[in-house]
Structure formats: structure tokens, C-alpha cells
């Protein structure tokens, strides 16, 4: 009997999974419609008033935040239910980071605001493109909230690890954030909203990137060359 019950449970959780997936798909469809319409709107304005520009940037920022949260939520759910495997392959880092910058174009064009990139165009590295892009996107998204005028995205190889840094010129991270979010509970207990969850997600994703004995990791500090916070992602 217990076997039958178990298989019932798996089946119903599979069903729930399917429902969840289709809901998220639906929400994402709406989001993408909004984001694309926003881009069309932005491009159709010949001369945009600075305040309007800032408003559009803000809407884009919020929409992307929702999108990032959804992707993270779904990935975490998959990790918990063991539906998850990384799809690592080799990518050119310059291309990869450039895609991310393009994806954040509007933010990039926000008044007096710039995202710069520093990366050798010959570096090839090995990772799950979608997952790492999600981390970087949500970090950039977060930085735009705190940065004054600049964000720098850089990548280089140090001691056989790829270091990807996202730095800004804001006030830096508050001290209470420097606790390593080891579990979902501490991540939420930090009462830092989605940032805590985002850092937990980033650490989890970094950790599942292996190369031999080396594993990936994340860290945050306030050592930004621009004077604000710095998020570092190390991939083996």
C-alpha cells in the first residue's frame, strides 16, 4: 500500500510542477510583452525628457527584477526537487558579457548612467550560460538601485579561476550582508528582501560548478574600484 501512496505523491507533485511551470510561463509572457513594449516606446520617443527616461528605466528595472526573481524561484524549486542538472559548456566570455550588457540596454542609457565592461576578448570559459546569466543579471539589476552613475562588469582569470566582478559607485553593502548565506533560512532571516535570496541563489549556483577538486563560489565586499559595493563570482 505504501508504495502506491508514494507513487501517487510523485504523480501529484509532478502535476503540481506542471501547473507551476505553466503559470510561470504565463507570467513571463506578460513580462516580456511589457518589457518589449517598453523598449518600443522608448525607441519611438525622439527626444526624451530626463525625468521620463528615468521613469522608463525604473519600470524596466522593476520588470526585470520580477523576471529574475521568477527564474531564481523556479531554479531553486528544481534544485529542491532534484529536477536539476547544470548544462555547462564552453563560451567566449566577452561575447557572453556583451549579451548581458545588451540585455540591460535601457538601464545602460539611463541619464548619466553607464555600464562598462572590461574583459579580454579571447577568454573562453566553462559554465552553465543560463544560470550564470541569471546571477549576473540580477546583480546588475540590484546594483542599479544603489549605484550613483556607474557599474563595471569585468572578467579575468586568476589562479585557474574565472573572476567575474560587478562593481558600482554606490554606498556599498551594509555590514549585515557579509554573512555567508549557507541555508535558505539564514538567507531569508537576513531580512534583506530579495537580495539575501539572490545571494543564496548565486552561492548555490556557483557551488555546483566544478572542475576537478575546485568548486565555484561567490563573495561580496566594499572593495569596488569605483568606491561602492563589489560582487565577485569565481568559477573554476
Amino acid at each position: 500500500m505504501s508504495d502506491i501512496n508514494n507513487s501517487d505523491k510523485t504523480e501529484s507533485s509532478e502535476q503540481f510542477n506542471a501547473v507551476l511551470m505553466s503559470f510561470i510561463h504565463d507570467i513571463k509572457n506578460s513580462l516580456l510583452m511589457s518589457l518589449s513594449s517598453l523598449e518600443t516606446l522608448y525607441n519611438s520617443l525622439d527626444s526624451v525628457k530626463p525625468e521620463l527616461k528615468e521613469n522608463i528605466s525604473l519600470i524596466q528595472y522593476e520588470l526585470q527584477r520580477i523576471n529574475n526573481s521568477l527564474v531564481q524561484l523556479l531554479s531553486l524549486y528544481k534544485m529542491e526537487t532534484h529536477l536539476f542538472s547544470i548544462q555547462a559548456d564552453q563560451y567566449n566570455i566577452y561575447d557572453f558579457l556583451e549579451d548581458i550588457i545588451i540585455n540591460n540596454t535601457l538601464i545602460n542609457e539611463k541619464n548619466d548612467f553607464s555600464i562598462n565592461m572590461e574583459c579580454d576578448d579571447t577568454i573562453e570559459w566553462f559554465f552553465d550560460k543560463d544560470l550564470i546569466a541569471t546571477i549576473i543579471n540580477s546583480t546588475i539589476n540590484n546594483s542599479t538601485r544603489y549605484a550613483h552613475s556607474q557599474i563595471k562588469l569585468s572578467a579575468k582569470i586568476i589562479d585557474e579561476y574565472l573572476h567575474i566582478c560587478i562593481e558600482d559607485d554606490g554606498e556599498g553593502f551594509p555590514k549585515k550582508m557579509f554573512v555567508h548565506p549557507d541555508t535558505l533560512e539564514t538567507a531569508i532571516n537576513m531580512k534583506s528582501g530579495s537580495t539575501g535570496l539572490g545571494l543564496y541563489f548565486a552561492e548555490k549556483i556557483a557551488n555546483i560548478h566544478h572542475n576537478g577538486d575546485k568548486i565555484g563560489s561567490t563573495m561580496i565586499d566594499n572593495q569596488s574600484q569605483l568606491g561602492g559595493g563589489r560582487f565577485k563570482l569565481l568559477l573554476p
Binding site: 511551470m21 510561470i24 510561463h25 513571463k28 509572457n29 513580462l31 516580456l32 510583452m33 518589457l35 518589449s36 513594449s37 523598449e39 518600443t40 525607441n43 523576471n67 527564474v71 523556479l74 531554479s75 542538472s85 547544470i86 548544462q87 555547462a88 559548456d89 564552453q90 567566449n92 561575447d95 556583451e98 549579451d99 545588451i102 540585455n103 540596454t105 535601457l106 579571447t122 573562453e124 566553462f126 552553465d128 543560463d130 541569471t134 572542475n211 576537478g212
Partner: protein, 517 residues
Amino acid sequence: MSRLDLSKTHFLIIDDFGNYRSMLRSILVSCGAQHIDDAANAKDALKKVIHNKFDVILCDYNLGEGQNGQQLLEEIMHRHLIPYGTIYIMITAENTQSMVMAAVEYRPDGYLNKPFPKDLLLKRLNMLVEKKSIMKDIYTAYNKQDYITALKIADEKMAKYCKQALDIGKLKAEIALKANQLDIAQQVYDQALSVRDFQWAKVGKAKVLIKRKDDAQAQVLLEEVIEENKNYIEAYDLLAEILERQGKSKQVQTVLSQATKISPNTIARQQHLAQVAIENDDFSTAEKSLKKAVSHGKHSCFGKIGDNMNLVKLYADNGKGKQAIQTITAARKIYKKDKEAQLHTQFVESMTHHKLGNEDKARDIFQQAISNISGHLSDLPAELQNDLIATTHHLGETELAEALIDDINNPSEDKHTNTEEMTRKYHYLLQNGKGMRLYNANHIFESIKVFEDAAQHLPDRISVNMNAAQALLIYLKSTGVDAELLDKARHYLDISQKLDKHNEKYQKLEAIYSGLK
């Protein structure tokens, strides 16, 4: 390098979501595109692809009812509906990409995650145009099966284009495997593995090892890959292949079950799983996977009437008559325009009734089906041929089965006779079978007429003529001699003698005849 002139590029947008189609269209227009067509579903898209030439196809993975973007791509590639230069980009919701990517044999040129700004689309298009133009000569030689040239060009291009070297290397190894140049393939994979534990390189190396008949080493690599990446579907298929060679059908089933769970849409894998499950006497797994194969087959170019028929046979073998008949009816509807498929359902229907004990119905349908055969047996699909022979055997029509097998195996002889003559032959062989059933049921007198009918129309078949003679002689033996009937028996014996006087049965019949005279 070649860049795309958008004003001259022909685009096709495929998405079931109207708002999204018009938005993508306006994005393309804002980039300078002038030739944009769109389709709301796969069926519509297929028509457009057949009748027009597109340079770029932007297709959403989710297309609502009917085929999804991947199935559409498979059909387009399988039927060679687009030239090499056409760029096919699959648009996915972020979370489906890995799922989509791991599962497929036919891949699009690129993926774009929703949402994407127009600059990213432009960048991707230009990169793909560049990549395609670099790889073009390799593919041209590869498709002509000129592997030596293809490998040579691949080496030249790899030296020239660092950025694409990895993609070219993968293609080079694939070509080397096809050409059985195992050393070259292994060199590519080993080199990649010396840099990093690439899963694709491990799977590639496993393929080399399998070709070198080193299943044990290959198995280790494949199990490693699956351990690292549960979604690497190709590794499961190769592992199943190895386990099958070792005769471990229980393990094969486990591996294929895992694989179909991850990628339920691949029909060939569902067929394979069903076949193994039947071997393992696992009715419910076989049923489940055949049902999946049938339901996906409705929308796929890989769907086959054979899967429907295998499901029917599974039901019939397990005494589930109602489901068997329902499945037949459903299959008739799906394949209503396909003559061969209709013929196939008739034979399997006959077999089903036989298995369910409806002997008369089985024979009625069989006779009808035999008369419906048009064209030459050797041209029919193998699955239909197999079910035709199996049904014939099930019904005990041994003579007919032999004739059918002959006609299937000797297409050249077969082609000289016309269809009408052929179906006539089958008809009288069926008469012969009917005669045998009467004879065996001790209705000897009744059998004589039937055998004679068959023998008169099949003067070159010794067995039929001997049957007629035998029925006559046995009848005469029990009722006493009748001159007219004895003459008839003589007639069939003479024919048999001409056909093969050394035939053992013939000689026995001659002995009986001598005894009666």
C-alpha cells in the same frame, strides 16, 4: 565578414501569441526589415516554408495546439525543407532552454531567451551568418559524403578561425566518426578532455570506444556523464545500446525509462522502451510508452501507423479486446488518407479478432484485406509486411504465408506479374487453406470441391494439386471406388508428377492410388 542586409532578408515569425508576433514584426521593421511573414501555428508555418524561401526563421518553442517548435524544426530538417543557409532561431522561455537543448537530435542554429532587446537579436543574427559562412564548405562536403575533403577543410578552418575552433572541432569529430576515422575522432575528444571534462567530449569518446568494441570503457564514461548531467539524453541512449548487447533487458528498461521521463517527446525512444518492456513482460510500461508514441506521432513526421498497431497487438495479447478495437478505430481516423496504413489496420484487426477468438470475423477481414493489396508486396513498409505474414501464420494459412514471403523476397519476379494476377493467386491459396480446414475437420467430401477450385487455378503449385488428389483418394478409400472421381485424382497426380516426381508425399499418394485401382 558577411553581414546580414536586413532590407533584403526574408523573415518568418512563428508564434501562437498574436501580440507577440506583431511586436516581433515591429522590432524587425525598426531594424530595417522589409520582408516579414508570420504564422500562428506549425501547420501554417510548414505550408509557408514549403512555398517560400526564408533567410531567417524565428520560432517560439511553445506553439499551442499541434506541433511545438522543436517538432516543427525536426519535420523541416527531416524533409530538407530549408537550405543550409537558412537561420533557424528558437525562442524559449528561459527555464525551458536546457530541457529543450539536451533532448534533441535536430538543433536550431541558435536560441534566444525571452525577453530580448533588438540589439541582441541583431548581434545573434550576424554571428550566425558569420558562423554559417565559415562552416558552409565543410557541410557541403559532409552532405556529399565526401568525408576526406570535409575533414581537410575542417582542419584549414580551425587553424584560421580561433573563435569558431571549438564548433568546427565538434563537427570534425562527428564527421570522423561517420567516416570511421576513429583515430581522428578520438584525437579531437582526447584533446578536449585534456583541457576540461567536457560532457560532449566524453560522450564522443564513448562513441569511439563503442566502435572499437570496448563497451566496458564506454559504459564507464557514459555513466559518469549521466551522474554529472541527468539531462544528457544521448548518453542514456548509448548506454541502453551497450546494455542491450549484454542482454540485460531489465537494466535497458531502467535506463530508457529514465530517459523518456526527461524527454518524453522522442517517439523512437518510446518505441524502444515499449519493445524492451514487452520482452520483460511489463504490460503497463509497454502500454504507457506506446500510448505516448501514438499521441506524439499525431503531430510528428516520425509518427507511424506501426506504433498504433503495436499498441493494438499489445492489448490483443493481453486479452484487452475493447481497447484493441478502440485503438484500431482511432488509428483509422488519424491515417485516413494513407492507403497502406489502412491496409495495415485491416491485417492487425484480423489478427486481433483471431486472438480474441472471433475466428469467422478474423477470416472475413483477412480475405477482404488480401483483396485490397495493390501494388507489389516488396514495396510495402517492413512493419506492414511483418504484420501481414504474422497474421497469415496466426490464421494457419501456411501455404499462403510461404507465397507471400516469396513475393516479398523476390521483387524482380513479383514485378513481372500484375497485381490482379497476384491477388488471384492469394485468393486461391486461401481457398486451399479453407479446404484444409474442412479436411482436418473430417469434412472430406466438402473439401474436394474447394481443393479442386484452388488446384484448377493454381496449376503450378504442387502442394495444392496434391491436396486435391489426397482429398479425392481418402474419400474414395472410405466410400469405395467411383471411376469419375478416380480419374480426377489421376489428373491431379499427373500434374504433381510433372512438377516434382521425387516429392515424398506425391509418391505416397501414388501408392494409395495403386491400392484403389
